[in-house]
């Protein structure tokens, strides 16, 4: 028994199963982060000042606590990785597996770089005793960026698999492998997009 439309798109819907599945999954993810962003708005509206008091010190702007230059760098890294992700997929369509390896490798490294930068950011917060329990601002910051970080790690696991052991499929079932890279890309762009919303809402506003 084979399931229809695992590789080729169904004519009347125009997509193959996995692509539709990932879009639906992303819709659900939008609701997850939507719920968290709503919580952020809800708490911020109810707060007398934002970020407010931390360790007896009053902060007027988020950028006084958070490291905007580092976050800007991270934004650039993630946007860049989305570009390399598309190039990796396009290379497969052009039958250039060597280029695929290069671009997918770059995407993976960019994810890693993002996490390293993030780790430095977290580290300096911990050093100052800025822990999630100190204030709702910090709680939101750590929860949202932490959950986003987990999504980055999840994406890197998938990308790493497609770069390493999963790449064998290119020899046996190239069409399916291209599909896999495509849907992994959809997810990766979503992770990127979440950050593009997170960065201004938490760091700048």
């Amino acid at each position: 028994m084979d399931i229809p439309y695992t590789i080729t798109p169904r004519a009347d819907t125009g997509v193959y199963n996995a692509k539709l599945g990932v879009w639906l999954f992303l819709a659900s993810e939008v609701m997850l982060f939507g719920g968290l962003f709503s919580a952020y708005i809800f708490l911020r509206i109810g707060a007398p000042e934002w970020p407010g008091m931390i360790h007896g010190e009053s902060f007027a702007r988020a950028s006084d606590i958070l490291n905007v230059p580092l976050a800007t760098l991270n934004t650039m890294i993630l946007i860049g990785s989305s570009v390399t992700m598309v190039l990796a997929w396009a290379s497969l369509l052009l039958n250039r597996f060597d280029r695929y390896r290069l671009y997918m490798g770059l995407t993976f490294l960019a994810g890693l770089a993002f996490l390293v930068v993030k780790a430095f950011e977290y580290g300096s917060k911990f050093e100052h005793g800025y822990l999630p329990a100190e204030s709702n601002f910090l709680a939101i910051y750590f929860t949202l960026t932490g959950l986003h970080g987990l999504h980055v790690i999840g994406g890197m696991v998938v990308n790493g698999y497609l770069l390493g052991p999963g790449a064998k499929m290119w020899k046996t079932k190239p069409a399916q492998f291209i599909n896999r890279v495509e849907v992994a890309g959809l997810y990766w762009h979503f992770v990127d997009l979440v950050w593009i919303f997170l960065f201004p809402t938490i760091y700048l506003l």
Binding site: P4, Y5, G21, L24, A27, S28, M31, G35
Partner: protein
């Protein structure tokens, strides 16, 4: 028809599927892959079915224990009281903490581990691919994962009774700040919920993809059986409503484990001591996020039930559903509206009259499509030659029972009448009428209706009718007095059932009657349990279409369907789902796949 053009292009794929099916028959799967870690939607459906029936029984047992305490407060539980530890029932007398644990876990288990997995996981899994002419679900491995994640979630919930302080005890709604400061059981509850949410996410993605992608040739959306439509809308609700609860769960876990104050307001004093938290959070935030899931969840509980009832009614009245298209439009509208009514659960929180006004209006609007669907089902009976088969009895009983549940909900949807009724037994009566004599009777209808498809044998009718009348009578015996108690003002969360309150004096004696009804309801399930297991071997053998139905699961697949790929050849649909008693046709049912 858009699909007729598409038919020719997909033909090739199906031939490939068939040749592979032949090929697959050569290697038999071992026991573990065939029955335990199976990727076959039929096996997974049965796994879901058996597990969720077991959880329904566990949840019901919790309630039977609580009903002893409500009927005879402070008296030791006879016969089995000694089985319980000193932390729960010393000398057979239930402690208040244990009562609260049973209450919270009854709700959680019934909703998230019992009814939803039975309605969606079991019936959806088993029936949807067969009804749409698909060889399996779109993602069979995800399907298996979905079941096992659900299973682990269930185990986590049950194990939580043995952690220090026992299971979660802040109600199934887990309102903070209480839920933030109670013992470890609440953390287990949250972790269990994360598993259950993940499971339902995997399931929802799978169902939607399956229904959109794997419909057989010629099976356009408006040729889908109403049951498939119900599962389709339900899956959207699961997909989009559950994540905000997951978000809320993450935030509550942070509050409990990391010490954040998402749900902790400033200046909170517990047992005379100020809590050492940063504060600034809002308990209302939890309620918004929780009910954003939990209201659509109500429709997750009821829509598959409506789908089952629609199938059974069309089949047993021998005529098409009255207003099939209107029912489908109502279903879609209902699904959409269910996302914007949640705060009608929160009228007494002080969120303001403007917001209350908005949610009252949306709540009144959402009652319209529900009434349309119920009316259409009722009108479908008109002029039919009704066969009173066992599934039909359950389906017929669903209509007035769900009607009572729905109509008693109207006063709760309007703030002025909700305020005195809020958190009283009236509310318990209302939603149990929707879910217990409503959904559960419909699920029983589904079991009696599709059992022959899954096993090749029919359930016994005499035992079935005994089960039906017992269930119907005793369910009403439990839930009807709740309205009276609630209107007298008895709160839903009283350990002694309201004995200490003077205003409850006139109604508190109903508790004994309700409790006896609950225990008799358990007795009424005995014929069902005997029937369910005995009929596997002793039931009357049936052919592929014992009910003379029109939909593909009956007309194109043997009973039970073949192991790999369901159908010997993938069917093609030529007509709508309910072509019963077509004038001039040879029989009073015209199968969907008949050219």
């Amino acid at each position: 028809m858009a699909n007729s053009a598409e038919g020719s292009t997909t033909h090739e794929t199906h031939h490939v599927a068939e040749s592979h099916a032949d090929h697959d028959h050569h290697h038999e799967l071992g026991f573990w892959r065939k029955y335990v870690f199976s990727t076959d939607h039929k096996v997974i459906g049965i796994q879901y079915g058996l597990t969720s029936l077991l959880f329904l029984f566990i949840g019901f047992t919790f309630m039977m224990l609580m009903r002893w305490q409500l009927a005879y407060p402070g008296e030791p539980l006879p016969l089995i009281g000694w089985l319980f530890s000193d932390e729960t029932m010393p000398g057979g007398v239930m402690l208040p903490e244990f009562y609260n644990q049973l209450g919270a876990m009854h709700g959680t288990i019934m909703v998230f581990l019992g009814i939803v997995p039975l309605a969606v996981g079991a019936f959806g899994n088993y029936v949807v691919p067969l009804q749409i002419g698909a060889p399996d679900m779109a993602f069979p491995k995800l399907n298996m994962a979905s079941y096992w994640v659900y299973f682990v979630g269930g185990i986590v919930m049950l194990v939580s009774f043995w952690v220090p302080g026992g299971a979660a005890q802040s109600g199934w709604t887990s309102y903070p700040p209480l839920a933030n400061i109670v013992m470890t059981g609440q953390t287990m509850w949250l972790i269990g919920m994360v598993f259950l949410i993940t499971s339902s996410l995997l399931g929802a993605v799978n169902f939607l993809t399956t229904i959109i992608q794997l419909r057989a040739d010629g099976l356009t959306f408006f040729r889908l059986p109403f049951f498939v439509w119900a599962q389709f809308v339900t899956s959207f609700l699961l997909l989009l409503a559950f994540p905000p609860l997951e978000a809320a769960g993450v935030l509550q876990l942070m509050d409990r484990l990391v010490g954040t104050s998402f749900f902790m307001p400033s200046g909170l004093v517990v047992s005379g001591e100020a809590l050492d938290v940063a504060g600034g959070g809002s308990p209302l935030l939890w309620q918004h996020l929780f009910w954003f899931l939990a209201h659509p969840e109500v429709y997750v509980l009821i829509l598959p039930a409506m789908g089952i009832v629609a199938e059974v009614i069309a089949n047993n009245t021998r005529k098409p559903l009255w207003g099939y298209k209107v029912m489908v439009y109502s279903l879609i509208f209902l699904g959409f509206m269910s996302f914007i009514v949640w705060a009608h659960h929160m009228f007494i929180t002080g969120m303001g009259t403007a917001i209350s006004g908005f949610f009252q209006i949306t709540t009144m609007i959402i009652s319209i499509p529900s009434v349309i669907i119920l009316s259409a089902l009722l009108l479908s009976l008109w002029g039919g030659s009704i066969r009173f088969t066992t599934p039909m009895l359950f389906a017929l009983a669903f209509l007035p029972m769900f009607g009572i549940g729905g109509l008693t909900g109207l006063p709760l949807g309007l703030a002025p009448t909700d305020i005195p009724l809020h958190d009283t037994m009236y509310v318990i009566g209302h939603f149990h009428y929707v879910v217990a004599p409503g959904t559960i009777l419909a699920l029983f209808a589904g079991i009696y209706y599709w059992y022959p498809k899954a096993t090749g044998r029919k359930l016994n009718d005499t035992l079935g009718k005994l089960h039906f009348w017992g269930s119907l009578i005793f369910m009403n015996g439990i839930f009807l007095p709740m309205f009276i108690q609630g209107m007298a003002g008895v709160s839903r969360r009283l350990y002694d059932g309201g004995q200490i309150y003077e205003f409850a004096e006139g109604v508190v004696h109903y508790n004994e009657f309700m409790s006896i009804s609950a225990w008799l309801l358990a007795v009424a399930q005995i014929p069902f349990i005997i029937n369910f297991f005995m009929s596997i071997w002793k039931g009357k053998e049936v052919d592929e279409n014992p009910w003379e139905a029109t939909t593909l699961e009956w007309t194109a697949a043997p009973s039970p369907p073949v192991g790999h790929g369901n159908f010997e050849t993938i069917p093609v649909a030529h007509r709508g789902p309910y072509e019963y008693s077509v004038p001039g046709a040879a029989t009073d049912f015209t199968p969907q796949n008949q050219p």
